[in-house]
């Protein structure tokens, strides 16, 4: 499109221009338009490529690993990076490169699954609060206020203390503490559309509430939910890493970026063995950076009110 029309960069010609050209009306589908707008955003596109590469590496971890992640090489203990061990080995002689890609598997999949769970819980409570209003609304929103007042890491640590650490527990704890943002957003969405004509029309036609939710509310809230999921992938990866860094998240020997970074809490490792903590740390930052760019890009691309 860009190649054919030199003017296309500035503004799309008004629809009447197409009409006068002999009724060649081609309406761009919303998905197509969103994709076009998304790929015009360079940081978002690069982030998508980086994240896709990392996801691919995580998926293919057993194929691109050079050694099993828990194999102990007694000849190379605490060895700096060499051709044999690209990122060196840790104090037990395990290959850091293999552990980094396997750790990525843990961190990324946890981020994705927990973010989906977060969005589901948040959407559910948001819909509940928005539709039932009254006492239910007050209770839910006050709970949201309280949970957002207490620093998240404190509540996470308290829950870990009661339930115990571990990957499976994190899958419950992290969504349980991360749904408030989605809930607020969803409630706002419901309140803003519930008096809109098409919802009123649906109600006049006697449609049950669940049908209005599924057919009218949810499709309209798709964009913010998608952006919300993306952003919470980032915050969940950070929470996991933070808990694991304190030794209360994913437990060794299962590698995760957070518990690999924990090595840096030992002063001589921090000073002498850069290869142990720098790669997982950089990967955490790059992932979160890319997820944030991706979220920004998605929001700009999907929101029809944004003019790009």
């Amino acid at each position: 499109m860009r190649g054919h029309h030199p003017a296309a960069n500035q503004a799309a010609p008004p629809e009447s221009a197409y009409l006068s050209e002999g009724l060649k009306v081609s309406v761009e589908s919303p998905l197509h338009r969103a994709a076009r707008r998304f790929f015009r955003n360079r940081p978002a596109t690069i982030s998508l490529i980086v994240l896709a590469t990392m996801a691919l590496a995580a998926l293919a971890a057993p194929l691109i690993q050079r050694y099993p992640p828990d194999m102990i090489d007694l000849d190379n203990i605490s060895a700096p990076p060499t051709w044999e061990h690209w990122l060196g080995t840790d104090m037990l002689g395990r290959d850091v490169w293999s552990r980094v890609i396997h750790g990525g598997r843990v961190s990324l999949s946890l981020g994705l699954v927990a973010a989906l769970a977060t969005a589901t819980i948040g959407t559910f409570f948001g819909l509940l609060a928005g539709f039932l209003r009254g006492i239910v609304d007050t209770l839910i929103m006050r709970l949201v206020d309280v949970l957002m007042t207490i620093p998240g890491i404190l509540v996470l640590l308290i829950l870990v203390m009661y339930l115990g650490p571990g990957l499976g527990k994190l899958l419950i704890i992290l969504p349980a503490m991360g749904w408030m943002g989605t809930c607020r957003m969803m409630r706002g969405q419901v309140l803003s559309v519930r008096e809109v004509d098409y919802v009123l029309a649906a109600r006049c036609l006697g449609f049950p509430t669940w049908r209005i939710i599924v057919r009218q509310i949810l499709p309209n809230a798709f964009a913010p939910i998608l952006v919300g999921i993306t952003m919470s992938v980032g915050s969940i990866i950070l929470s996991e890493a933070g808990l694991s860094f304190l030794g209360l998240g994913v437990q060794p020997p299962t590698p995760s970026w957070g518990n690999m970074l924990q090595a840096a809490t030992v002063l001589h490792v921090l000073q002498e063995m850069l290869w142990l903590w720098l790669p997982p740390g950089i990967l955490i930052v790059v992932t979160v950076l890319c997820v944030n760019f991706l979220g920004d890009g998605l929001r700009d691309a999907i929101d029809p009110r944004m003019v790009l």
């Binding site: 006050r142 709970l143 206020d145 309280v146 957002m148 007042t149 207490i150 620093p151 998240g152 890491i153 404190l154 640590l157 308290i158 870990v160 203390m161 009661y162 980032g234 950070l238 890493a241 933070g242 860094f245 304190l246 209360l248 970074l261 840096a264 809490t265 002063l267 921090l270 000073q271 903590w277 740390g281 955490i284 930052v285 979160v288 950076l289 944030n292």
Partner: protein, 323 residues
């Protein structure tokens, strides 16, 4: 002003009560008996005495009554005793809270000075190389979690360049009341703790300032022949600061969250480290005490933010009055 303050207070009271309810529920779920918390194990009481106390405390009562009892104890400053050694939790928290408030306060001040300063400067010099550089650094600052910033900062400034000490609040063996030594130990962790906030404040300030700079009343002010400095400082900045005030207030919980990591990395014996100690030792009274105090501080900070906002923006006050 008084009415506005009262209205805000009325919003925070139920939130504060809900927080205490949450803490109480968690405490009630914890193994052991609240009687074990509220009376120091060092008193060496007999079984009968403890039973009598439980009776007098109403532990055979319904949860509602017990909640009120607990609330009364807490309001009187009795946060219970540590399970580890029977030390009272209240005074311990008081010492630790001071250190965390110093750390957090300096970090916030640093964030405000650097973040707002940079934001104003780059907004006035939009699209300069400095603007671009700051933008990239700010995005990095926002995406860097406190634990990685802390580790990286400790490595670069503490271990490699050796500009700052690597931990603690004073030099071991030195005079513990030496203020200069204390400040020397404070600078690095406070600066690292503020990195997230510098970046956040900067982005907000720049955006807010850019929005204001296009306003018509600035053109009017210039047309009246006002000096550029007055136009920027008095007309633009005052309005641009409004939304930033709320952002600063909203970032306080995050500050405490970051303090947990920074204090752990720099062995800064404040609330964050105390909390981690409590979690590792499963010292329930300690954990509940810390949670309660930290949340109260945050609620107080929120209230102060609201007041500050109403002070800089008269519209908020007037709106309340007209309602």
């Amino acid at each position: 002003m008084g009415r506005y303050f009262l209205r805000r207070l009325l919003i925070y009271i139920p939130v504060g009560l809900l927080v205490t309810l949450l803490v109480f529920t968690l405490a009630d779920l914890a193994p052991g008996d609240p009687a074990d918390w509220l009376y120091s194990p060092e008193l060496n009481m007999t079984y009968e005495e403890i039973q009598a106390i439980k009776e007098s405390m109403g532990l055979n009562q319904s949860p509602v009554v017990r909640y009120v009892q607990w609330l009364r104890q807490t309001a009187q400053g009795n946060l219970g005793y540590r399970m580890k050694n029977g030390d009272p939790v209240g005074p311990l928290i008081a010492t630790r809270l001071k250190r965390t408030l110093v750390l957090g306060g300096v970090a916030t001040a640093f964030g405000i000075i650097v973040g707002l300063g940079l934001g104003i400067y780059t907004a006035l010099h939009q699209y300069s190389w400095f603007d671009h550089l700051s933008g990239v650094l700010a995005f990095l600052g926002i995406s860097m979690p406190a634990f990685f910033v802390g580790v990286l900062g400790l490595y670069i400034f503490g271990l490699k360049l050796q500009w700052f000490p690597i931990g603690g609040i004073t030099t071991p063996g030195g005079d513990p009341d030496d203020l200069r030594d204390f400040l020397y130990h404070l600078i690095l962790p406070a600066a690292l703790l503020s990195s997230n906030h510098v970046a956040g404040y900067f982005r907000y300030m720049r955006m807010s300032m850019l929005e204001v700079l296009h306003a018509d009343y600035l053109t009017t002010a210039r047309a009246k022949g006002m000096r550029e400095r007055i136009v920027i400082l008095r007309h633009a900045l005052r309005n641009a600061l409004l939304p930033v005030v709320t952002v600063i207030g909203a970032s306080i919980p995050g500050l405490f969250g970051g303090a947990v990591f920074i204090e752990t990395i720099f062995s800064w014996p404040g609330m964050g480290m105390l909390f981690i100690d409590g979690v590792n030792a499963r010292d329930y009274p300690l954990i509940m005490g810390v949670t309660l105090v930290m949340t109260s501080v945050i609620l107080l900070a929120n209230l102060l933010t609201d007041i500050a906002y109403s002070l800089v923006d008269p519209r908020i006050r007037l709106e309340t009055r007209s309602n």
